[in-house]
Amino acid sequence: MGASGVTERAAAGTAAAAARAPAKPATGGEKSRFRSAAELRDVLGSLLREVDADPDLGSRLRSAEVPHRIRCTDLDVVLDVGPSEDPDHYISWAFDGNADWEPALTLEMDSAAINRYLQGRLNLVIAIARRQVGFSATDPRAALAFLPLGGSLCSAYRQVVKERFAHLTLA
């Protein structure tokens, strides 16, 4: 499922170097890409830590009670997010199938679509119609609980990207 250990370590090094480098926004959509699976995990992990620390966003995501999975088709990364049972956290998450819960909703898309979606530049529903995003849910109510929350992640994501991963910023 995940990239090989060597690739991951190399990718982590690239991501760390990118994080140290001065922030420069990408000039076009083509360049606004994740450099590796490790960087994707790093960015998503940073986003989820921000969400978990935000009482408003974190509690909304937890109270939606929709364990969901995002499968990145080109970088072969799987992210599971669900409500946390730990009272000190709103949400918990795990990469690459290590979650001990089953998702109620699964989204499948490539890393470019993830980046566009989380920056509010991809209409998820239209992307589903165009088969650019795969969607499945065990219960229609899961979609109704999850989709309105998607937009609220955007400002946290844009902040993470602006501060640490400027090459992912969409022009």
């Binding site: 165009r130 088969r131 937009g151």
Partner: protein, 397 residues
């Protein structure tokens, strides 16, 4: 003046419209809460409600019970809104504002004047009429202005209704359930209302600016498209794609899951429609489980409809009817044969199905992502000729 500030018995009588002797008797019989014989604005407000309820035939012992339970504790509104005594008639208002008395009457009907204040205007009414007069003097057409006033009134009536109902359900009722003494309850609600209601105005202003900016941008885009050759209709008629979407099997769902669960589903459904629509599309209205959406762009609305239905793989499933045509825009709503046709189309769709007329297919053209399967010409109630309909779905990868 704070609502718990003492006032004289005569003042309480004037405010409540109840004779002083009756007020004294109601206080002695503890129908109105009066601490150590000291009347307050809150107590006078409650007396006014008791008097109204008496006029409607409610016995005093029931009103006393209701008062004890805090059900009449609404005196907090006295402080929030202040007194609103009638001051002038329409003729005087016309002379002061320069508006015709007939126009004032028409405006007040649009605003929904309370019946007991017929043809009497308060200072607030008069201030509003001055604003109206200035708008008309600036050259805004009367026909458009009257529509705008109606939309303002309808929208804000809904807002005020929701505020009062939610305050009642989530503040007043819990206090009643907790058995909070009525004076304490009135004070507590007064404080909360006093803190909360003044915040509503800046929130309205913020939202108004925000939506105004959005719709001005939309309007500019619309003009640009007209410039590029998209035909425009007559004055007041707009070329739009109309979409109706509702939940099939909702009545059965309500029976099986109960009213609360069904209401929760509807709220989430409408919220999801709203949060996922393409930027240029707008919800016009919701009627129960049905949502009406319009958009200047048939392609994005059609793709949205197909994608949205893809979210629901199990019951209750939505269905969609789409049609492109001209609609008359009036009072914030869209009317006309083409709107009616779109509505007829959705009633012919099955759960999980996007059904569209040939007008959508013509506007939409050949799509890389959506395929249209013709299902033939279908008779629709109220339309003299059969309409070619198509089922739309995503193209296979």
């Amino acid at each position: 003046m704070p609502p718990d500030q003492p006032i004289s018995l005569n003042e309480a009588s004037r405010r409540s419209g109840v004779p002083a002797t009756t007020l004294k008797r109601w206080a002695e019989e503890k129908i109105i809460p009066v601490r150590r014989g000291r009347w307050t604005a809150t107590a006078a407000a409650q007396a006014r409600v008791v008097a109204r309820m008496r006029e409607r035939g409610y016995p005093l012992d029931r009103l006393k019970e209701a008062g004890k339970e805090g059900k009449l504790a609404f005196g907090y509104t006295e402080e929030v809104f202040g007194r609103d005594d009638a001051t002038v008639g329409y003729e005087d208002a016309a002379a002061e504002t320069g508006l015709e008395p007939e126009l004032i009457e028409r405006l007040m009907v649009l605003l929904g004047t309370p019946a007991h204040r017929e043809r009497q205007l308060t200072r607030d009414d008069l201030d509003a009429l001055h604003h109206f007069s200035r708008v008309l003097a600036s050259g805004f057409p009367l026909v458009a202005f009257l529509q705008l006033v109606r939309v303002y009134a309808q929208s804000l009536r809904r807002v005020a209704d929701a505020e009062v109902r939610l305050f009642h359900l989530y503040v007043h009722e819990p206090l009643i359930r907790d058995g909070v003494p009525e004076l304490e309850m009135a004070e507590e609600m007064g404080e909360l209302a006093g803190d909360m209601l003044p915040i509503a105005t800046p929130i309205f202003e913020y939202l108004h600016r925000r939506y105004l900016r959005f719709f001005i941008e939309q309007d500019v885009v619309g003009h640009m498209e007209s410039e590029f050759g998209i035909e425009s209709g007559e004055l007041g008629r707009i070329n739009v794609t109309v979409c109706f979407i509702d939940l099939t099997g909702f009545t059965r769902y309500t029976e099986e899951e109960g009213d609360e669960e069904a209401l929760d589903l509807i709220e989430r459904f409408v919220e999801t429609v709203e949060s996922t629509l393409p930027r240029e599309a707008t919800i016009v209205k919701t009627i129960g489980d049905e949502v009406m959406v319009v958009s200047p762009d048939p392609a994005s609305l059609t793709e949205w409809a197909v994608g949205f239905l893809g979210l629901f793989q199990e019951r209750p499933q939505p269905r969609v009817g789409l049609h492109c045509g001209y609609a008359v825009y009036r009072d914030g709503d869209y009317f006309g044969t083409d709107v009616n046709l779109a509505h007829r189309v959705v009633t012919r769709a099955l759960g999980g199905e996007v059904l569209a007329t040939d007008s959508v297919i013509r506007q939409f053209g050949e799509s890389e992502f959506i395929e249209a399967e013709p299902i033939g010409e279908v008779e629709l109630k109220g339309f003299p000729r059969a309409i070619p309909l198509f089922v739309l779905r995503s193209r296979r990868a």
